[in-house]
Amino acid sequence: MVRLLDDYRILDSAYKHGITDAEIAYVLSDKNATRRVYDLHDDDDGNAQDMFVAHTGTRPWPIEVGVSYRPDEDVVFHASRISIEYEKLYKEEV
């Protein structure tokens, strides 16, 4: 049975590209109609990972946010301007 958590943790690595806490929340938010989610391969510890992509209204481009679903917490390990790989996918959908 999967544990549903009421918070997530943002790792320092997610701040490397200048994306803010608020922007990360906008990307992850289920109230953001521009949000798309793509499956990533599991991390080295076997935790499932997702890449969230969305417009936030704060930048002229979409933002991608990587999340790892650990047993006891959801962890944001990456946040940046949308990368070329996801840009193509995202453009096709939004």
Binding site: L4, L5, Y8, A25, Y26, T58, D74, L89
Partner: protein, 180 residues
Amino acid sequence: MTEEVKSSMSPEDRARRRAALGKTASEKIAKSEQLNFRLEEKSIKQLQAVALQKGVPIGSMVREWVLERLSEEELGKDGTPGKALQMLIDLSHNLDRFLRKERSTLHTDSTNYTIYSHGDATHENSFSNPFAKKFEGHSTVSSVDTAFTLCSGHSFFLTCIDRARRLQSCVRKNSLFKLS
């Protein structure tokens, strides 16, 4: 990325985690009581000028605009015209009070309205009624039409006109008048 991704987590569990994470993020945003958005330099300068002219902080002014618009977006969503009509009736009462204070009277028919000053027969303003035809055929046409009509005219009520027009837009969008 488009290929099938193997994962130790079942698709159902992944969907549940995604949903929970999305909800948590939305709640965080709401709890922060702050919203950030990008606006062009030109627009920000316009906002600064308007706020300065009004003597209020930009944030307060924009917040008021947003709240006003939100209340309009809610109109008719519950399937009843009550709130929308009440707002229009309030506007018409305001205009009535204004006209009494100015000792003016207002004559209206289906396409025009005229404001008479100080009881004499010379009209000082006469405008076509842009709303008359739009609500034709609806049972609520008379009250809404009158309310819209009453909200036109003096410059004092220009904001009322603007509000009424936006109300009309919201009301129509939310299919309020399909209830007739």
